[in-house]
Amino acid sequence: MIKLKPTYIAALLALSSTASNAAELNIEIQNLTHGIYFTPIAAVVHTPETSLFEVGEAASTELQMMAEGGALDGLSTIATSINADVLANPAGGLLAPSAKAAGALSTAAGNTVLSVVAMMLPTNDGFIGLDNWTIPTETGTYTIYLNAYDAGTEANDEIRGSGVPGMPGMPVPPPLETLVGQGGSGVAGADTNATVHIHRGSIGDNSMTDGNSDVSNTVQRWLNPVAKVTVTVN
């Protein structure tokens, strides 16, 4: 059993009697990977009845826009329509491997769960995902580890292409232009599972000019978890 200091217990008791749904949060997202970049991150606090994605269900068009091209416009529109509180793009662009980004967020009463998404580059439609994590009412600092998901909307061909939803291939913005190979013949066809699922990882190869994949097999790969989210409830 973990021993709690008496002062801490007292603080918990005091808080539990005045629990409120509105909260002041600080949210930090760290990229844990060795060589994967994250596109602009969306941290969305919303009602438990809504969600940005569900495993085992087809991705929405808005999620697909994020997962295939890193675009947050669609998800922002949804967030507005459900009166969510949004921390958008705290990194101000791509979040490099091992880097962190953080921001503060005031949440409205009723918005009690946190979701976090961002596309993983280079992938076709891989994204980091946190789905409806219930925000504790007690003040404190909480850590959540995120897995990599596959949106199930695009073939994982692992070759350069487009970030436009429905268009094949991976978007390759700077600084990935020089890190991703070219001339790959393509790895995989359409996903067998067209719903959101845990990403099976990339195959990659060790050629920058040919082979199956434009992804580096030793660097641009990952094991779960891929991101760490630290939420401070103030």
Binding site: I2, Q30, L32, T33, G35, R221, L223, P225
Partner: protein
């Protein structure tokens, strides 16, 4: 145990006033100060001892002798941080001697030998009079270039006497050696235990991250000395900490 200590409170300064009558009847005050050292009772040291059981969860990645460190300051490793020389030596070559003598360490113990896949080892560490030390562990997955597992700065004051805490540790990449998996670069048995361990060159990302996993020759990296047997996932190590004193 009692010991002599020159503590301010333990120092008695006796002022002895001597009145000396001289021949011309003038009274001269002579003050003589005598410093007396008295034995100050020192509380009996309190030992805090922890039993740490490490289990290797991998298929075919022996873990190098585990470094167990108690410290109050700093971090043995952190994702996004730059590996210390001591960590690099452990992560590239399985040599924990640098970590055993790490500057911030207050107590350290090394595992007796590498821990094979599926095996475990229990290591005991004791620290005197420090109830709130941080516990860190580190051990190399020896069939990698610079992969390691461990725990960074877990505060042991959370444990009451007799209590245990168990965690599953991730696999990290020191970021100091490229993951070529090539012959001659892996110190473990996969490379005949003849591969190079530590060298001072840093030719990788430069920062500590989660390990991306190994590719192996069976998965398309034909220059890899590793096979499918050496692949691993998270977690790679189980750690159980029990406060026994």
């Amino acid at each position: 145990m009692y010991q002599l200590k020159k503590l301010p409170l333990a120092t008695l300064v006796s002022s002895i006033l001597l009145l000396t009558a001289c021949g011309d009847d003038k009274i001269v005050e002579v003050i003589k100060e005598v410093e007396v050292e008295v034995p100050a009772p020192v509380p009996t040291p309190v030992n805090f001892s922890y039993e740490i059981t490490v289990t290797n969860l991998t298929n075919s990645q022996p873990l190098s002798p585990v470094a167990v460190i108690l410290h109050k300051q700093s971090h043995v490793f952190s994702v996004g941080g730059i590996a210390s020389l001591e960590l690099e030596q452990m992560a590239e070559g399985g040599d924990n001697s640098g970590l055993m003598n790490w500057g911030f360490g207050l107590a350290s113990r090394s595992g007796a030998a590498p821990i094979g896949p599926g095996a475990s080892e229990t290591i005991m560490i004791t620290i005197e009079d420090v109830s709130d030390a941080n516990l860190s562990l580190a051990s190399m997955l020896v069939n990698t270039n610079d992969g390691f597992s461990g725990l960074d700065a877990w505060n042991v004051s959370q444990l009451a006497l007799g209590d245990s805490w168990t965690t599953n540790a991730f696999t990290y990449d020191a970021g100091t050696e490229a993951n070529t998996e090539a012959a001659g670069t892996i110190p473990g048995p996969a490379d005949g235990s003849e591969g190079a361990g530590f060298n001072t060159d840093r030719d990788d990302s430069g920062f500590i991250s989660m390990h991306p996993g190994v590719v192996s020759s069976d998965d398309g990296l034909n220059t890899s000395i590793l096979t499918q047997a050496h692949k691993f996932d998270n977690p790679s190590m189980r750690i159980k900490v029990t406060r026994i004193e």
